[in-house]
């Protein structure tokens, strides 16, 4: 059974807020291995990861390696705790390309702790942020798998019904939905931390969009937990309590004071993106 201590530790470990931002030229790098020629057939994917057709050419490998290197530099300077977290939990990333998947994608599996698949990371125009999201996303899954292995599952893994994720819009199993709550919390923490040191407007704009999307999903989590079809009894109570705390605070963390202004004025402030930098401090209340 997951204890309150374990549940609270999730919030602490998935907070990437760092009061000091390290804009240095120090070399930042990931320690996990890149496997461009995987022999492993990954379960539950739309393509065969071991197929030669799923491999990048030598030139293209350099391009993907450079993207991953850029992620390490961005994380190392703007969110060093996230860099450390990924290095602590990711061992090997299988790097693949496939026409069977639309755009960039990533995957983890409970039976393959420490490993993930990154697919088509060359594709997006904002590939560094997309790859950063994928790497932290999958590293959080590794961390959660290990926590469950050591301290007990967060929910009943045999629960067969699926539920619609308020983030992806896909119907996913209960255990994936519970993981998603922590994954998106960690990503919100990352975006808000990176926003504190974002230099260019377009960089801040991308972070604002990503943070807003995460907050949007969290604003419907409490409704989902309270809904008649949600199997609340199948989830550990302390995990429910922690998710409820995140969902209570995260959606309103960026809101401006509406006592004196119209929504039109508030929407302009939201559009500016200045609130994303303040978000990191607001999120601290969740773990307090």
């Amino acid at each position: 059974m997951t204890s309150k201590i374990v549940a609270d530790a999730l919030l602490r470990d998935l907070s990437f807020r760092d009061s000091a931002v390290h804009r240095t030229n120090a070399a930042h790098a990931f320690r996990f291995a890149l496997d461009f020629e995987p022999e492993r057939v990954w379960p539950d994917l739309a393509f065969d990861t071991s197929s030669p057709l799923a491999r990048y050419s030598a030139d293209a490998r350099d391009e993907v390696t450079e993207v991953i290197g850029a992620v390490a530099r961005v994380a190392g300077t703007g969110a060093p705790k996230a860099l450390d977290f990924i290095n602590a939990h990711m061992e090997t990333a299988l790097i693949c390309r496939s026409g069977a998947i639309d755009g960039a994608s990533s995957a983890s599996n409970r039976e393959l702790v420490g490993l993930c698949v990154l697919t088509n990371m060359h594709a997006p125009s904002d590939r560094v942020l997309v790859c950063a999201e994928a790497l932290l996303h999958e590293s959080i899954h590794q961390y959660l798998y290990k926590t469950e292995r050591d301290d007990g599952n967060f929910c009943d893994l045999s629960e067969a019904r699926t539920y619609r994720s308020p983030w992806s819009g896909n119907r996913i199993p209960l255990h994936s939905l519970i993981h998603a709550c922590f994954v998106w919390y960690g990503l919100l923490s990352l975006w808000s931390q990176l926003a504190r040191s974002a230099g260019k407007d377009d960089e801040l704009s991308l972070l604002r969009e990503k943070a807003s999307g995460v907050m949007f999903g969290f604003s419907f989590v409490r409704q989902m937990l309270a809904g008649p079809s949600f199997p609340l009894a199948s989830v550990q109570p302390d995990i429910v309590a922690v998710i409820d705390r995140i969902a209570q605070i995260a959606p309103s963390a960026g809101l401006v004071d509406l006592e004196q202004s119209t929504l039109r004025d508030s929407l302009r402030q939201w559009e500016s993106g200045a609130w994303v930098g303040r978000l990191a401090k607001s999120l601290q209340r969740i773990g307090a």
Partner: protein, 285 residues
Amino acid sequence: MTRPEPPNLILLLYTDRADAVTSVLLEQGQRLRCEVLAMSLSQLINEAIVGRTWKWAERTIDPSHTAVVNRLLSVEGEAAPFRSSVQRQQFWIWLAGALQGFAYVSSMPSAISPLGSFGSLVDQWSDLPELVSGLRVPNHRAGGSTAELRGDVYVVDPWHLYNLGRRAAIEPGSGEWHGHLAYVRPAGRLFHVAQVGNTIIVPNAPPGMRQEQRDHIVSFTRSMSVLSPNRILEHAFFEGNEVPVFYSTCPIPVVTGRLPGYADLVVTGLQDDIENCSRRSAARS
């Protein structure tokens, strides 16, 4: 113990005057026992001050004594006053939080719709039979696969709640049906049930509808009244061989809203539902 007073104001939030519920409240709102104040999405965004109490048109609106009829059908498209997806998302987040402070809300926004909903046909056919005892839904397969389905097989986009799709005329496995839902069309004609709270009408009921079939509909709507955060719904059923077979439920009365009796349903059903909600709140406090 003091008994909470029922709401003394109905605040209609709307985007489309042609929506049947909006139309009834705009034109016949005086039939309700308390005042109806109508506020368009544009007025909500550009004119109202929406803090702990709302201020608009020289009025102060106390959410704790106000019932909201949420008819914000959509916040997408050119008519919506949002410059970006971030503005739309932040408004939607705000709306979901703000409506929780009202004494009564006809429908809470969901992640799928600002009007709330039970999702696609896939969601409805998966979730509702778990919640409503005895509810029958069409035999179906996700992904548009017609394999293992026998009978009058149709393929439909599961997000098109008002479309029965078309008869499957191609071999299973064709990419044409990616993202679609294949189902066996139940027997009999389609009919609709309009529901506001506990009150229902079945304006296009099949002529030969048996008492057993009527009882099934009443039982379903009672269950929905207990479990649904959406108080205003329109359900579609196939007549079926024994009991009606559920097809979909939607918070917009596309069919019944045009039929006789709908205005009376909205007035009576809404009045009762607001008062019942107030009584339930009193019992809890």
